[in-house]
């Protein structure tokens, strides 16, 4: 069956090639579910309810295409299956280095989702691809330029970077870039993870950067290192006075990482800080932050 020849959209491959190279297998999409419902006669109306996407969101977070096909068995022809699946798309990573520091290289910060020994999460398509690709292999990449999420043109400006987990990636590049350029502005990083012991990405590099004065302040939040969970937004509030002073003084604020929980929480913390430190009411704080955004000094790269 895997060698069956399938023609779709004018292209012909074996089924194996379609599935391995051409089709999205880790992300479940609505058209597939519609097909699954029709073919298996299962009642998937809750999942397909466009007014209430929560069920679908939950399913996509914990299952992959194969899980759905196994859960709702049905007759599929190779052609029908290929047609029901979306074309595979590339995955986008922030570059975690500056050419000024690493030359002809680009470093990535990749969390390997669903490792061999820990199968609680489904395997990530790109992270596993990266891990299992031999050193010195050629892989297809493209550069997606992000003209907005960059270090300030004016090196004298201070920057505040909020990047828990792999969200720290661009900021490693930022710090490298600003050091190489001899930027006079200060660099302040907020980092977070589960535990200091296991999850402190680039720990040794940050420690050395602090000693060299390439990084001026580093606030960390390790959520599982104490009874109550502490995240970057808590550190943000604790540092509210300095944060507000830096921003009032023209600093740029960058946020990178998780879009679902972290970015909104950080945003709310920012509003709180502005309200408290600026002695404003909620509306004024909103306006202050809106101005910051309009000014191009509150930049987010969240996913």
């Amino acid at each position: 069956m895997r060698q069956a020849s399938v023609t779709h959209d004018g292209k012909t491959h074996t089924l194996l090639e379609w599935l391995r190279d051409e089709r999205e297998l880790t992300r479940i999409a609505r058209p597939l579910l519609t097909q699954v419902a029709e073919r298996s006669k299962a009642d998937l109306s809750e999942l397909l309810d466009t007014r209430n996407p929560a069920a679908l969101t939950k399913l996509t977070a914990t299952s992959q295409v194969a899980d759905v096909l196994a859960k709702y068995p049905a007759e599929w022809t190779p052609e029908a299956l290929v047609a029901a699946l979306r074309p595979v798309t590339g995955r986008v990573y922030s570059i975690a280095s500056s050419p000024a520091a690493v030359g002809d290289e680009a470093h990535l910060t990749v969390a390997v989702v669903g490792s061999d020994t820990d199968r609680r999460l489904p395997a990530g398509a790109a992270s596993h691809f990266v891990v299992n690709t031999p050193v010195d292999s050629n892989v297809q990449v493209w550069i997606e330029r992000n003209e907005r999420f960059r270090v300030p043109a004016d090196g004298a400006r201070d920057i505040i970077m909020i990047g828990p987990g792999t969200g720290v990636a661009p900021f490693r590049g930022f710090v490298q870039e600003r050091e190489a350029a001899g930027a006079s502005g200060r660099n302040w990083l907020f980092f977070g993870g589960r535990s200091l012991y296991h999850d402190f990405l680039y720990q040794l590099e940050w420690q050395q950067a602090l000693k060299r004065n390439a990084l001026h302040r580093l606030d960390v939040a390790f959520s599982r290192d104490q009874d109550q969970k502490i995240y970057v937004q808590h550190r943000l509030k604790e540092a509210g006075k300095d944060l507000y002073a830096w921003l009032s003084n023209g600093a740029y604020l960058y946020v990178c990482g998780d879009a679902t929980a972290m970015a909104p929480d950080v945003h709310a913390a920012l509003l709180d800080v502005v309200r408290e430190q600026g002695g404003m009411d909620a509306d004024d704080a909103q306006a202050w932050v809106a101005d910051l955004t309009a000014d191009g000094r509150y930049l987010r790269d969240v996913y």
Binding site: Q3, D116, T117, V135, Y197, Q207, L218, V220, D225
Partner: protein, 841 residues
């Protein structure tokens, strides 16, 4: 090299410690510490590291803790851009080693929650917990303090835990002696409130640090040890103490006698440094007698003389023993008498008959009962069949008396009313606590320090090596008909002397992985040091020497003569001394007595190693002389990482997996999945992964089996060429790819010479494909494998029991009963090789 180092006097000149030398770095840290506070609070609050500042690592010792790191994980974490896995050891101050059941339960509980789940009883009657990470340090100290146990001055340049004869059996005197150990400990303790301030949130000091009337503002030049002993049992090894007290009774004797006073012992000390003959162990001098009322005054005066005259420039020369030897014992006595304002009368007669503990139940003078349990190396842990930690918790929960730690790492369940003995006996039996009581005397009395993996000073195994080495010594004794010979055996991982090795009849002092200095000939009462018999030798050489000497001892000994005394009588003056002086001469000349000491340090790249046959042979010769565990440990320490282990998950795979993964957890285990593995192999992989928490890295040919067979047919059935092509496509290519993509620099594999003719010339260390390849069990027989699997409770492959002895792909593996000769077991006799180990660039 800085000029300061060049201008320093040579070691032999430094013996007199001229005053113009710069004080040592630690002196500067102590001086600037504001009563041992330093920047410990800031260090503890630094959220960016699990470590504390370097100067604070010196000061925290005075608070009873050492910063350590897991030496097995260093390279791996550096690769991950993470700092070393820092943690802390905490040692309690516990004068005389007495704890209540409530205290026992608290310590046992906190070792489960904040430490490694084991309690360790030290040779100074204290507890140690290991592996406490920085964020839990304060909590752990507070939990100890909640049951009135502190760790003040348990380490550092101060008077350490005060020891006292532990066995309360004989007389009321023991309580009196114990009380003195507490009083001495309190009296000589630092007066700074730094401990309370830092760990217990005590009030912050404002202004200058507290006065230290006895220790002085910079504390002592080096550690200082005090112990009290009640003859005739020298369990505290009183002559190893800087300051010792020998209890002297009136003529009523031990049963009813009263304490008249103490003989004073000064200048004992056991630490030394390999290759530096100006450092040495020394037994203390007995210099006079004092009455009980004079105890504290005399003790503080001895401490203050050492404070004022001890060497503060060279820490290896800073103990009281050197102060006394540099100036003479007559000077010391005169200085002591001058400061006391009176002359100490001559010492009274005393006699020691033993050094070790007395095991089992003993009835005390007041009718209460005391059970001394043997706890090997003092390590209270839960192990299968020996749930000591749990068992002692259950005993503590019902025990009405107290617990006493002995100076020999054992435990006394003390002051048990007769009515309670049966209950305790039952719990002891239920938790395997009595097993060690039934072993040979040599095993019962043996001591070992902690050493690897937690101690940063150790050069060789001690605690983990003691059981297997003792077993071998038992074998020698049995061979010569001396199975029940009392014999003291002590092993340390370095020459600092924690397990008091210099006072044992047989001592092994770690030199390098698998290599020790063998010292022999101490008496068994702690009054005569042993001497170096052979330096820097491996287990085989040690056992050969012991076999020869014990053989002669068996033939020539006088009735009841001890082994150490025999050596001294028959050989000591002659052979022993010659050997000592030879060894010392070699050390002074700076040339190592044995090239093998240098072999373990490998500075060659794989290419250089491959090109330099002589160097390669030398290293391989050394590796061949040590055990498999040592080979792995040496490789992890000396060869470049990242490391990986390949496994076929064949019949005996568990050996290599256990051997390597137990020394480097999370080491990548490369599994080449040909697509043709037995279903049982997948089960086996799952079973072992769970049991050993393996980090499996699975690699396969990119071509699925169906496609592969469609293209090539059944290659393995197509003669030697087909088979080779099969191996290249399904095994060699994925293997090569795995090593490359994981960036592996050193590759462990479980090949053995006895597996196939093609492996007969296998070396422990080879270079393959530009990488180091290590074969830790290259010389093992099938029986060795069997014994290892059995000893560690490891499974064979599920097919083993069905007659398969060599298990690879299902299409090319046969059960023993399916073939005529063993040659045919794999690949129908064409190869008895799995295929990937010939791998070349």
């Amino acid at each position: 090299m800085s000029t300061e180092v060049l201008e320093r006097p040579t070691a032999s000149e430094s013996v007199l410690a001229p005053k113009h030398q710069p004080e040592s770095a630690v002196e500067k840290i102590k001086k600037a510490s504001r009563g041992l506070r330093g920047t410990l609070v800031e260090s503890l609050h630094d959220p960016l590291t699990g470590a504390i500042r370097e100067s604070d690592t010196q000061l925290i010792k005075f608070h009873g803790s050492y910063m350590q790191d897991d030496r097995d994980l260093r390279a791996e974490r550096e690769h991950q851009k993470l700092e070393p896995a820092y943690s802390f050891m905490i040692r309690t101050r516990l004068p005389g080693g007495v704890v209540t059941p409530r205290q026992w339960l608290a310590l046992s509980g906190l070792c489960r929650t904040h430490a490694t789940g084991t309690l360790r009883m030290t040779t100074r009657q204290a507890f140690q917990v290991h592996g406490v990470i920085k964020k839990d340090l304060k909590k752990t100290m507070q939990a100890m303090n909640a049951v009135l146990i502190d760790s003040i001055a348990a380490c550092g340049d101060v008077n350490r835990n005060v020891m006292a004869s532990s066995n309360p059996v004989e007389s009321k005197l023991h309580q009196e002696v114990y009380d003195w150990s507490v009083k001495l400990s309190e009296h000589l303790k630092p007066k700074t409130r730094a401990y309370h301030e830092i760990w217990l949130d005590g009030e912050k000091l404002v202004g200058p640090a507290e006065e230290e009337p006895i220790l002085g503002p910079v504390y002592l030049p080096r550690k200082f040890k005090t112990g009290i002993v009640v003859p005739p049992h020298n369990d505290v090894d009183v002559f190893s103490q800087d300051l010792g007290f020998i209890a002297i009774l009136d003529e009523e004797g031990l049963e009813e006698g009263k304490l008249l006073g103490f003989n004073l012992v000064v200048g004992g000390g056991l630490g030394a440094t390999h290759g530096e003959p100006q450092t040495y162990p020394r037994v203390g001098d007995v210099i006079g007698f004092l009455t009980p009322e004079q105890t504290l005054k005399v003790a503080e005066t001895v401490v203050m003389i050492q404070r004022d005259f001890g060497d503060r420039t060279e820490r290896k020369h800073a103990r009281l023993k050197y102060t006394i030897d540099d100036r003479g014992i007559a000077w010391f006595k005169a200085e002591l008498n001058r400061r006391l304002g009176f002359e100490l009368p001559p010492a009274r007669p005393y006699k020691f008959t033993t050094q070790g503990d007395r095991f089992g139940w003993l009835r005390g003078h007041d009718g209460r009962w005391h059970l001394t349990l043997r706890i090997e190396s003092g390590r209270v842990a839960d192990r299968p069949g020996a749930m000591h930690l749990t068992g002692l918790e259950k005993i503590a929960a019902i025990h009405q008396g107290d617990f006493r730690l002995t100076p020999n790492q054992n435990l006394i369940i003390a002051n048990v009313p007769a009515s309670e003995c049966m209950k305790i006996d039952q719990l002891v039996a239920d938790h395997g606590l009595a097993k060690s009581l039934l072993t040979s005397p040599v095993r019962r009395d043996a001591l070992a320090c902690v050493a690897l993996p937690t101690c940063g000073l150790s050069m060789a195994e001690a605690e983990r090596y003691l059981p297997s080495f003792t077993e071998k010594v038992e074998g020698v004794l049995v061979k010569h008909g001396l199975k029940n010979l009392p014999l003291t055996l002590r092993i340390t991982g370095c020459p600092n002397g924690c397990a008091r090795p210099y006072l044992a009849e047989i001592a092994l002092i770690g030199r390098a992985p698998g290599r020790y200095t063998l010292r022999l000939g101490a008496d068994a009462i702690g009054q005569r040091l042993n001497v170096i018999y052979r330096d820097n030798i491996d287990e085989n050489a040690i056992l050969t020497a012991l076999d020869e000497l014990i053989g002669r001892f068996s033939a020539e000994r006088q009735p009841d003569e001890r082994f150490g005394d025999f050596l001294w009588r028959a050989h000591g003056a002659h052979a022993g001394e010659t050997r000592v002086s030879e060894s010392v001469a070699r050390e002074v000349n700076g040339s190592s007595p044995d090239m093998l000491a240098d072999a373990p340090r490998l500075a060659l790249t794989p290419a250089e190693f491959a090109a330099d046959a002589a160097a390669a042979a030398q290293v391989n010769e050394w590796l061949a002389s040590v055990d498999a565990e040592t080979r792995v440990r040496w490789s992890l320490a000396n060869l470049p990482g990242p490391f990986a282990l390949s496994s076929s998950f064949g019949a005996q795979a568990a050996v290599s997996l256990h051997l390597v993964a137990s020394q480097q957890a999370r080491i990548p285990v490369v599994l080449i999945d040909t697509g043709y593995l037995f279903p049982e192999t997948y089960q086996f992989i799952e079973q072992l992964t769970k049991k050993l928490t393996l980090n499996i890295q699975r690699f396969s040919s990119p071509q699925p089996v169906g496609e592969f067979e469609a293209q090539y047919g059944k290659l393995w059935e197509q003669g030697r060429d087909g088979l080779n092509q099969y191996l290249e496509l399904r095994k060699v290519e994925p293997m090569r790819r795995s090593l490359k993509s994981l960036g592996i620099k050193t590759w462990f594999a479980g090949l053995r010479r006895s597996q196939a003719a093609s492996r007969a010339a296998l070396n422990p260390l080879e270079v393959r494909d530009g990488r180091f390849k290590v074969h830790p069990i290259f010389d093992w027989s099938d029986r060795d494998v069997y014994l290892y699997l059995k000893a560690h409770g490891l499974p064979y492959h599920p097919l083993w029991d069905k007659g398969y002895v060599s298990i690879g792909d299902w299409h090319s593996t046969k059960a023993l009963h399916e073939v005529d000769s063993a040659e045919e077991l794999r690949f129908s006799g064409l190869k008895r090789e799995c295929g990937i180990h010939g791998l070349e660039g």
